[in-house]
């Protein structure tokens, strides 16, 4: 069979279907504007993917993923902003060569912590390491002390609120509530025109699949099984001699890094970063994407994110004054009727029919852990 470290057959089919959908069907069917919107939605899919690992499998509900999305996004935006703030682009300012918002805030030289962001290599490292280390510190501080569940969720909310206040308050260094706007080029390559958007889209889809494979690998490894065990019976895992805290920290860091990659892609795709992605509300929204997709399903997270964002865009275009109600209704409907999200619908209603179709040809096998068959949109065979 095709069972290996990453995937089994039905999951492989799921991934291939998603790949065809994202790489072939969408680019052929959508104009560049809509494709760029999809690219924007997919940046959140990274966050949702991270949440599947840390919430769905690890049982750690983080209501502060916006923090990591924001940190990744701001790191990338700082690099892009520096490149956009060349002396000739900013000669209208009283101090040319620094970002415009610094000039408005009477800062006359580039602050020290901005300096390294002249380098793309440093920036890419920072996109991964800054949120990763931050998650490590929070995780170590919390999980080593056995803070979990609701308390952890509340603390992540507090962190999101604190970071927002910090960014808004230090507007000379961060752009404040306006955020960093007017990002233009990446190493001289203009990120604004249509063809650049298309290139970035495919690059992002590639990154997304790398992250999906990493998530699959974690899930199918022993590590993944420990995470699930930990989620369901933490004490038993601890008594068996595993360091629960370390596994939790790991899952939390993976979630953070995925979110940060999404944030960095967001800055590239949208040419914009602002504190409105960091705070409590966007963080909760990101959890909703995962919930709609099915928190136990890796691919469900991607579909859930796209569906919710698509609904958001199209409802707000058609009903500018009423769309929030429609969106709220959609959430309530999904949570009430389908607690396992899109993946649950697939699981309960679509998959059995497909199975029945195939079962005439092939006997159904029942290997793997029980969790998996409840868990995923594409159950293990």
């Amino acid at each position: 069979m095709t069972d290996n470290r990453f995937t089994n057959r039905s999951e492989l089919i799921g991934i291939l279907v998603l790949a065809v959908f994202l790489v072939v069907i969408l680019p052929l069917c959508l104009d560049v504007f809509r494709l760029n919107l999809v690219a924007k939605y997919l940046t959140y899919a990274f966050v949702a993917l991270g949440l599947v690992i840390c919430w769905g499998y690890g049982g750690i509900l983080s209501l502060g993923q916006g923090v990591f999305f924001g940190l990744g996004g701001y790191c990338m935006a700082m690099f892009l902003k520096l490149e956009a703030s060349s002396v000739e682009n900013t000669k209208i300012q009283s101090t040319p060569g620094i970002p415009d918002f610094m000039d408005w805030n009477q800062i006359t030289s580039l602050p020290l912590f901005w300096q390294p962001f002249h380098s793309l290599t440093f920036t890419i490292a920072a996109v991964i390491l800054v949120p990763g280390l931050f998650a490590l510190v929070i995780g170590a501080a919390m999980f080593k002390r056995r803070v979990g569940g609701t308390y952890f969720a509340i603390i992540t909310q507090a962190v999101a609120a604190i970071l927002t206040i910090l960014i808004v308050g230090q507007q000379g260094y961060t752009g404040g509530i306006n955020g960093m706007t007017d990002l233009r080029t990446l190493k001289g390559w203009d990120i604004r025109p249509d063809h650049a958007k298309v290139v970035l889209y495919f690059f992002e889809v590639g990154l997304l699949f790398i992250c999906i494979l990493i998530a699959q690998f974690i899930r199918h490894s022993k590590l993944g099984r420990i995470l699930v065990a930990m989620r369901d019976q933490e004490d038993r895992v601890r008594f068996s001699g595993y360091s629960v805290a370390n596994f939790k920290i790991f899952a939390f860091c993976v979630g953070a890094i995925f979110a940060a990659i999404g944030g960095a892609m967001f800055a590239l795709q949208v040419g914009f970063m602002s504190p409105s992605f960091v705070g409590i509300v966007p963080s909760i929204e990101m959890v909703i994407y995962t919930a709609v997709g099915g928190r136990l399903s890796i691919l469900g997270a991607v579909y859930g994110t796209m569906l919710v964002n698509f609904a958001k865009t199209s409802l707000s275009e058609s009903f500018p004054e009423l769309w929030l109600f429609g969106l709220g209704g959609l959430f309530i409907a999904v949570v009430l009727a389908f607690p396992n999200g899109l993946a649950g619908i697939w699981q309960d209603h679509v998959q059995p029919r497909i199975d029945r179709l195939i079962s005439s040809r092939k006997p159904k096998s029942e290997s793997g852990w029980t969790d998996n068959s409840v868990a995923d949109g594409a159950p293990a065979e």
């Binding site: 104009d31 504007f33 919107l37 924007k40 209208i92 009283s94 918002f101 408005w104 805030n105 009477q106 206040i165 808004v168 308050g169 507007q171 404040g176 509530i177 306006n178 955020g179 706007t181 007017d182 233009r184 604004r192 949208v270 040419g271 914009f272 602002s274 409105s276 992605f277 865009t313 707000s316 275009e317 058609s318 009903f319 500018p320 004054e321 769309w323 929030l324």
Partner: protein, 419 residues
């Protein structure tokens, strides 16, 4: 409805137009002047905008939802009123204005996304929109990249000028300086206390005000404090005010924070009939929330008050109330929003074209004599010449005009000596 005018448009655009039309039963109820008598479409539209022989499409882009909705609704209403009136008067270059409304949802990146949609998908000839500086900063790169035309209604901090934007509100020096001069003369004020919300507009405005107080008025700023947007605790700053006893409290606190600020000020026993307070952020819209009894006696400095006594305003206020209800109030920004479609119409007619480059070039010098604020003219720098006025808040939530500058004040977005 209106199948014929849409003929020849591609289907996605056509769907958008139909949706826009569906959201607006108002236009269909109006008596229809005959459209289509204008110059040929190939002449007035050489850049592929959404212009047909009988219609031209513009975008309205404000927050209809979220925290800013309460402020931006007035602008949406004013812009729709202006469009309706222009259509009733025969439209623009013989074409009826049709609008597509998008919701920025009080979220700056959403503004950028929707602006892009309006320009790229809908190919609107102009966008009336944005309110906060943050939303404008988000939209600006988009309108510049796709060469759109934005009519921006809010008074703002200046330090900006774009070929693709017409600023129908006042920039900071225009709004502030005359007011400070007046209060310094009238009240003999020497010491000022600044309180603002913490973002670019209050900070820049206060910077300009500080330079003016210190360098021109030879006065003193005895305190300068900022509060996060949405903040509701002002007791500590009110204590400082009572300690420092400034001649004038100068405030640019925005949005809902105002309600808390003025209530706490009153509760702390600061009597605005004795303590001079000059605000540049409270319009009739905000007083609706604050309550006239909490702010009566305060001075506001801007370019328009609903109570202005001139023929244009006497026609404008009833027309607005007739469309949107007796209870609506009209603040400075609402009036500036009303100017947008009219200035655009006048510019199109002067340019004889809807092309953005021609509109941008033809804008300087455009006069709008029917403006509710009196008379405005577009400056070379795409801002408006306008008067500055000081009003005193009354119990009923209206302002009583106390002072207005004799001449129009020149807009100066990059003021020398104030940066």
């Amino acid at each position: 409805m209106s199948d014929e005018p849409n003929k020849g448009l591609q289907s996605p655009l056509r769907r958008q137009l139909l949706m826009g039309a569906a959201a607006l039963p108002l236009i269909s109820m109006l008596p229809r002047p005959s459209f289509g008598a204008g110059p040929a479409t190939s002449v007035v539209n050489t850049t592929g905008l959404a212009v047909t022989d009988t219609e031209v499409t513009v975008g309205i882009l404000h927050s209809a939802t979220g925290t800013m909705a309460i402020s931006e609704t007035g602008s949406i209403q004013a812009e729709k009123l202006a469009i309706e009136q222009i259509n009733a008067a025969g439209g623009v270059l013989g074409r009826k204005i049709k609008f597509i409304q998008e919701d920025g949802a009080s979220d700056w990146p959403t503004f950028a996304e929707k602006a892009k949609k309006l320009l790229v998908n809908d190919k609107v000839a102009a966008i009336m929109g944005c309110w906060t500086s943050a939303s404008r900063k988000a939209v600006l790169p988009v309108v510049e990249q796709y060469n759109g035309m934005l009519y921006y209604p809010t008074f703002y901090e200046g330090l900006e000028q774009s070929k693709n934007v017409i600023y129908t509100g006042q920039e900071a020096t225009q709004q502030i300086l005359a007011g400070l001069n007046w209060i310094a003369k009238e009240k003999g004020a020497k010491s000022f206390f600044f309180i603002g919300s913490d973002y670019i507009w209050p900070r820049t405005s206060n910077k300009i005000a500080r330079k003016h107080v210190e360098n021109v008025l030879k006065g003193k700023v005895v305190g300068e404090e900022y509060y996060a947007l949405g903040s509701t605790q002002f007791n500590s700053v009110i204590n400082k005010i009572k300690l420092t006893k400034p001649d004038v409290i100068f405030t640019d606190v925005v949005g809902g924070s105002n309600v808390a600020f003025y209530k706490q000020l009153k509760a702390a026993g600061v009597d605005l009939s004795k303590q001079a307070l000059l605000t540049i952020s409270v319009t009739e819209d905000e007083i609706d929330g604050i309550g006239g009894e909490n702010i009566a006696g305060a001075y506001a400095c801007m370019k328009y008050f609903q109570s202005l006594d001139n023929a244009n305003n006497k026609a404008f206020v009833p027309a607005f109330k007739k469309l949107w209800g007796e209870k609506t109030v009209i603040g400075d920004v609402t009036q500036a929003g009303y100017l947008g479609p009219w200035l655009w119409k006048l510019t199109c007619e002067k340019a004889g074209s809807f092309d953005v480059d021609k509109i941008a070039a033809a804008s300087p010098g455009i006069e709008f004599k029917e403006a509710p604020e009196g008379y405005v003219r577009i400056h070379e720098n795409h801002h408006l010449w306008s008067k500055t006025r000081v009003g005193r808040a009354k119990l009923d939530g209206q302002f009583e005009l106390i002072f207005e500058t004799a001449d129009l004040i020149e807009p100066d977005p990059f003021p020398k000596g104030y940066q």
